[in-house]
Amino acid sequence: MREKLIEKGLLLVAFSAVAMIFLIAYLIFREGVPLVAKVGVWDFIASTRWAPSKGSFGILPMIVGSLEVTLLAVIIGATLGLSCAMFLAEFAPRWSVRILKPMIELLAGIPSVVYGFIGVVVLIPFIRRTFGGPGFSVLAAAIILGIMILPTVIAISLDALNAVPPLYKEGSLALGATRWQTLHRVVLPAARSGIIAAFILGMGRAIGETMAVIMVAGNALTMPTSLLQPVRTLTSNIALEMGYASGDHQAALFATGMVLFVIIAILNTIALVIARPRT
């Protein structure tokens, strides 16, 4: 009897996360859907002109911008992060891993605004001097986000690599394989789903990041055609304009959030399908 009660109570608690996600979705969609209905789905997501006070609500440049920045950031973060994780897992001496791993996890806790700020004072002037232009650009945003997600990618993929049963490694080494052969032919495939999970989490952080992006991306409303052009992402659109928005403008920002929501859901689903371990 008592056991049953405990079970029911815990079930209730466990559903709070579900309740919350539905509440969030409900609130965002309730504000956003009427506007999208008014403007038209196609005009909303496929038009390039954003001038809410003039009745134009096109967010295509921001969708493209978000995806471009995120993709680039993940490429940077994943390359560096996975290399780092592989090195720490297989080649670095144990003592150094014991020191470095907590340090890297610590770096995950640095506020994103600090990363953004360093972007403004170090990276932007560097890009401006080296490549010309304003410096605030797709490239700057991608580099900052790529660095920001590094600790997450390293920590999680390192865990995934370490979770591969030593049996597999032994089996490969006993056949006369080098450690690198073992790593890339057996350990990496076996850790595949964990590593992809690391990339997904990194991607999630990158696409959802707001403040750091506002600081370095330039937030212009053009369709980004070059890496050196300023760009506005969906998240920064919301954070930039929410403060002064009212009426349809505000609804359009909620609708932006809605689109972001849907994009993240799609990306997560794709990633989950890829990551599903082959049985």
């Binding site: 006070s53 600081m215 212009a220 409303l221 304009e241 002064y244 009426g247």
Partner: protein, 281 residues
């Protein structure tokens, strides 16, 4: 027993955490009020609140940013006693009491190293509409211009649009000119401060901010040959001027009333002037 002591330890942790929090059930003092709204007004309101509470230690005034719309919304739902707005209210938002507290000129600024110092309104319009793209065309060095504007909905941007972007534009039959659109590749920043910081660090940049926030790293452009000074602003010769508003839901009472009175008083207005605004009275 470990299982016992450690769960007790965890429990203790939470008790300590809970005790650390002041579990007040209502606001600590009846004289506390909140101001919320425009980030342009926020720094000035904070300064005023600081001085006011120094003279009235029993009063507590907290100042929030969030933007004009958030302030208006919070004021409508009585979440804050006084809203702050740097833009005019839309028809749907009317109904709140509007109290202008200061004039604010919007200055066009460039990096102090930039030799260009004078522009006509039309030139300023063309720079921000993306029709003039090189400083050479304005008598400066051969360098691409990086215009920086504010985000859609910002009061500063609205005033700038209304006064500068309409200059020389064809008028429709009501006699109203349609403002030129901002260049889509202009950088967008969401506060006066960040616009100033970018201009201060990039010789090719140009932006517009509250004239009160100009410092030595940036220079104000003489718009149509007029500098934003108190005299030109009060006389209306400087073309881009707006009002900062305090908003209340119904007549203000208590601390809110006293604070508004202080702001409109001579010493309050003097403070605003010191901080770079132009007095309303």
């Amino acid at each position: 027993m470990i299982t016992h002591s450690s769960s007790r330890g965890l429990a203790r942790l939470f008790v300590v955490a809970a005790l650390l929090l002041p579990l007040g059930c209502s606001r600590a003092s009846k004289t506390a009020i909140t101001l919320a709204g425009s980030t342009s007004v926020e720094p000035f309101a904070e300064r005023l609140a600081e001085l006011y509470t120094r003279a009235h230690p029993d009063a507590e005034i907290s100042v929030q940013g969030g933007g004009s719309s958030a302030g208006i919304r919070a004021c409508q739902s009585r979440i804050c006693a006084i809203g702050m707005s740097s833009r005019e209210l839309t028809p749907e938002e009317k109904g709140l009491v509007e109290i202008p507290i200061a004039h604010d000129a919007i200055a066009l600024i460039v990096n102090a190293r930039n030799p260009v110092r004078v522009m006509t309104l039309e030139q300023a319009r063309d720079v921000f509409a993306g029709r003039i793209r090189n400083w050479k065309e304005l008598g400066g060095p051969n360098q691409r211009i990086t215009p920086i504007t504010r985000e859609e909905g910002s009061g500063t941007r609205a005033s700038f649009e209304e006064k500068v972007m309409v200059a020389g534009m064809p008028k429709d039959k009501d006699g109203k000119a349609n403002p030129a659109a901002f260049a889509p590749d202009a950088l967008v920043q969401d506060s006066n401060g960040s616009v100033r910081e970018i201009v201060a660090s990039d010789p090719a940049a140009i932006g517009y901010i509250s004239s009160g926030l100009i410092d030595e790293r940036v220079a104000a452009i003489l718009l149509g040959g007029v500098a934003p000074t108190e005299a030109t602003i009060r006389s209306g010769r400087y073309p881009v001027v707006r009002q900062f508003l305090f908003l209340t839901n119904g007549e203000a009472t208590g601390t809110a009333k006293a604070f508004i009175e202080y702001v409109l008083s001579d010493s309050g207005q003097r403070t605003l002037t010191e901080e770079g605004l132009t007095r309303i009275k």
